[in-house]
């Protein structure tokens, strides 16, 4: 029996004290970044971290300017628990903040010393407030959050009550706005309104269309017993803040409803053994975005269909600090309908002819490879049935247009003009020839004449190209334009458009080898119109591109720094750049297989310096930049 009691007590104890910081992320959260302090501090210990110079400033800020030798270790934060940063939005409010573990509450209030304790209606939860920020502590976990009602929520309510009470509607844009002391509301009346405040009543209140009125709006009055519109609106804002804070707190601390409890995907993400995890719910973004409200009210059924199409549209990510690299693995999740389009879109083969147009010294290049034809056909199959269900004549005419275009347009020509492979490169900055005007002075008369002479300016060199099966179509367009302007001329292997960029620099079009390329690199157009041959990227890099999936990007930061002209930067900036030059590395974005429910991406930052500790490497760079820019 005693053992049973002990077990029960242990269970209760465990249940109360085992709550983790990630259990208190509001369910409205749209994006969360969770830092796994335990894993991270294995890479860089807290002792090492607090010794960085940039941390001194952070710690001074933390302890209100006077650290007295205190460091992050004295902040009362439990670094054995995760630190979660969240932002969320519902149809009525925005909520943002942090959740973290507490190791020492007394020490914690050395940091949060401007927070005042509030009365709490929730057992076991302590509430502290500083201006708009709220700190809620339950057990050994704290939630620091800010709840902001949406402006539209507050304004709609304030306006409707104000007008329903017979006051004039404020004329927001009138210059004389603050000059008249017309309509005012007594404090007593305002208090009554606050008392009867209930957002559910919102619908029952009469809403009056905004109308410009001749009557101007009153200024703040010296009489404390009366409130003008703005003061009244502020009261509504405060009441809403309290209401939404209570709503979130009740869900988190009484009903145990949090993002982790309602979203399996997020809960699963938190189990990953990564230094940091990322979560973004795009479907919530679609629902909450104000831009769709009009669409939602005009085409409610269509909106619901699109909402369904986007359900499950969640992006999750894991951040790993490896020995010599930092890896960010992303997983884009979506529903089957959208997935069927993405799947077709990515059913494509890279046009290898682009590889010879990427120079081996390229500081940045990307490739994008999709099957537009199949994706189009699949989109048609997905979208048309949705539109067919709608009874609205506007939707119906859009559908008819779509169907007619589908029948009449020559899809072989359309999708043959751009077959789906695309690439771009950045080859640094080069001096290009421009024309400038010079004043020539006659030293006898001091009169001047204007003379056009050649000048030189710096310009980034870029190349952009697409694969095509129909070289005749771009050729037809170029030929037509050349008939309209003498600036565009056919030079046999390439076309040249004089003064095309910024009225100074020519642009070249290469339309051969199944590619249509646009570039301002004279060397490529004139000397390498069939590709760079031996100077093109290595076979190893080409292999990476081929294996990189439908999207691949590569940035070499060392080359990037070298290619930018030094005169573009200030001495201080140059000092920082020189300091980090040897510590930079390459960044690579690759995509994995695409299936009906998910696509994987990987962003990898590989360091030049083999330090064996990427977390320390990044902190070293931050510290160098901080020290040099002080």
């Amino acid at each position: 029996m005693k053992f049973l009691k002990l077990l029960l007590v242990s269970f209760l104890f465990f249940n109360v004290w085992s709550q983790e910081s990630e259990d208190f992320i509001p369910k409205e959260a749209v994006s969360v970044f969770s830092i796994n302090n335990v894993a991270l501090l294995q890479k860089v210990s807290l002792d090492e971290l607090v010794q960085y110079e940039f941390m001194t400033e952070l710690q001074t800020e933390l302890f209100d300017g006077s650290t007295n030798g205190k460091t992050l270790k004295d902040s009362g934060i439990d670094f054995d628990k995760k630190l979660n940063v969240f932002y969320g939005k519902s149809g009525e409010f925005e909520v943002s903040g942090f959740t973290f573990g507490i190791s020492d509450k007394t020490k914690l209030f050395n940091v949060f010393d401007d927070f005042d304790k509030q009365e709490s209606n929730i057992e076991g939860a302590e509430f502290y407030t500083s201006l708009q920020n709220h700190l809620v502590i339950k057990g050994n976990v704290a939630v620091l959050m800010r709840v902001e009602p949406l402006q539209s929520t507050v304004k709609d309510y304030a306006d409707s009550v104000w007008l329903a009470r017979g006051y004039e509607f404020p004329n927001y844009y009138d210059d004389e706005y603050f000059e008249d002391e017309g309509a005012i509301i007594s404090d007593e009346e305002a208090v009554l309104l606050e008392e009867e405040f209930d957002a559910d009543e919102l619908d029952s209140l009469i809403y009056i269309e905004d109308e410009p009125l001749d009557e101007v709006f009153p200024t703040a009055t010296e009489n404390p017993n009366v409130k003008n519109y703005n003061e009244f609106k502020d009261s509504i804002l405060v009441m809403y803040q309290m209401q939404f804070l209570n709503q979130i707190s009740n869900e988190l601390f009484i009903e145990n409803i949090s993002l982790k409890s309602v979203d399996q995907k997020f809960a699963e993400q938190l189990t990953h053994k990564a230094e940091g995890v990322f979560y973004l719910d795009n479907s919530k973004n679609l629902r909450n975005t104000q831009n769709f409200w009009y669409f939602q009210s005009i085409f409610p059924h269509l909106y619901n269909e699109i909402d369904e199409l986007y359900s499950g549209n969640v992006i999750t990510g894991d951040l790993f600090f490896q020995e010599n690299s930092i890896d960010f693995k992303l997983e884009a999740n979506y529903g089957e309908a959208l997935g069927s389009i993405y799947e077709k879109l990515n059913k494509s083969k890279l046009d290898k002819s682009i590889l010879k147009y990427i120079h081996e010294s390229s500081a940045f290049h990307f490739t994008y490879n999709v099957n537009l034809r199949e994706a189009y056909e699949q989109s048609f199959k997905v979208v048309v049935p949705i539109l067919e269900k709608q009874k609205d004549p506007r939707v119906s005419s859009t559908l008819l247009t779509l169907e007619l275009l589908n029948d009449f347009v020559n899809k072989d020509a359309l999708f043959g003009t751009y077959t789906g492979t695309m690439f771009g490169t950045f080859n640094g900055i080069k001096k290009v020839k421009t024309k400038k005007i010079e004043y020539q002075y006659d030293e006898t008369t001091f009169e001047y004449t204007e003379q056009e002479v050649e000048g030189e300016e710096e310009m980034p060199l870029f190349t952009f190209g697409i694969s095509t099966d129909r070289e005749d179509i771009p050729e037809k367009i170029l030929k037509h334009i050349s008939g309209l302007t003498s600036k565009l001329k056919n030079h046999g292997k390439y076309w040249k458009f004089e003064n095309a960029l910024l009225e100074s620099v020519p642009l070249y079009f290469i339309n051969r080898n199944g590619l249509f390329i646009v570039t301002n690199d004279e060397n490529l157009a004139i000397n390498n119109y069939d590709g760079y041959a031996d100077e093109a990227i290595s076979g190893k890099e080409a292999k990476k591109i081929k294996k990189g999936g439908f999207i691949y990007a590569h940035v070499d930061w060392t080359k990037m720094i070298d290619k930018f002209p030094r005169e573009m930067f200030q001495p201080k900036q140059l000092e920082v750049m020189d300091a980090i030059r040897s510590k930079t590395g390459t960044m690579e974005l690759t995509s994995g297989k695409v299936n009906r429910t998910e696509t994987n991406f990987e962003l990898k930052y590989s360091m030049n310096e083999k330090s064996g500790n990427s977390a320390k490497h990044i902190l070293d760079i931050i510290n160098s930049v901080y020290v040099l820019s002080k």
Partner: protein, 228 residues
């Protein structure tokens, strides 16, 4: 307000665009009337200017479009045209080569000076009105003095050596012409034309930014010949 945006934009240009060629050409006739020409040539930096114009904002300041700049120039031109004693005002703009040429005729040097000053004041172009107090042109019978108003651009940051080199390559040329001969002048760097009716001063933009007094001069003229 727009004028202020254009002004910020001009300051931004002068900070970022290095190669500038400016000249002013002042003709003063014996009866006090004359012609004033002012030209700014930014064609050597047109690529950079076009790149800036392609942006929405830079350093937190809105970048105006070419249409907005032209509108403001037209407005300023109109302001000059409305001034008493100022005639034949024209501002030519070339947004391909970024050449800007201002020209006007004036009844007297004081009308020219007060017209420019009143526009600077009304448009709130100068921060300190006191900066406009000194007289720019001073002429009595045979003596003519001119100063360059201290409009040195207050830079928010230090110039790097390359910028200094490029600004040093930019020229400012100031020419003053008369109907009669110049007998002597005080600025030793000035240059007379062979028939001694025009005098030119030239410096580089970097030096002028640091010392606007470089183009100051006092000129002593031969007496006006009395008609018989």
């Amino acid at each position: 307000m727009k004028f202020r945006i254009i002004f910020y934009f001009s300051v931004l240009f002068f900070s970022l665009v290095s190669c500038i060629d400016i000249f002013d050409d002042l003709t003063v006739h014996n009866d006090g009337t004359g012609t004033y020409k002012y030209s700014v040539n930014l064609s050597a930096s047109k690529l950079k200017i076009n790149s800036i114009l392609a942006l929405d904002s830079l350093d937190g300041k809105k970048i105006p479009s070419i249409i907005e700049i032209q509108d403001e120039i037209n407005r300023v031109e109109k302001l000059f045209k409305e001034k008493d004693g100022i005639k034949n005002v024209s501002i030519e703009t070339d947004f391909v080569n970024f050449l800007f040429k201002f020209q006007c005729d004036f009844d007297s040097l004081s009308t020219l000076e007060s017209a420019v000053k009143s526009i600077l004041k009304s448009e709130n172009w100068v921060k300190n009105i006191e900066d406009l107090t000194p007289t720019w042109f001073d002429q009595n019978e045979n003596k003519f003095s001119r100063i360059i108003p201290d409009i040195t651009i207050k830079r928010g940051r230090e110039l790097n050596p390359t910028e200094i080199d490029l600004l040093s390559a930019g020229k400012y040329r100031s020419i003053t012409r008369f109907d009669r001969k110049i007998e002597k002048f005080e600025n030793e760097t000035a240059m007379l034309n062979p028939d001694k009716t025009a005098i030119a001063l030239q410096t580089n933009i970097y030096s002028l930014i640091n010392n606007s007094k470089l183009l100051e001069n006092t000129i002593y003229l031969s007496p006006i010949k009395q008609q018989k």
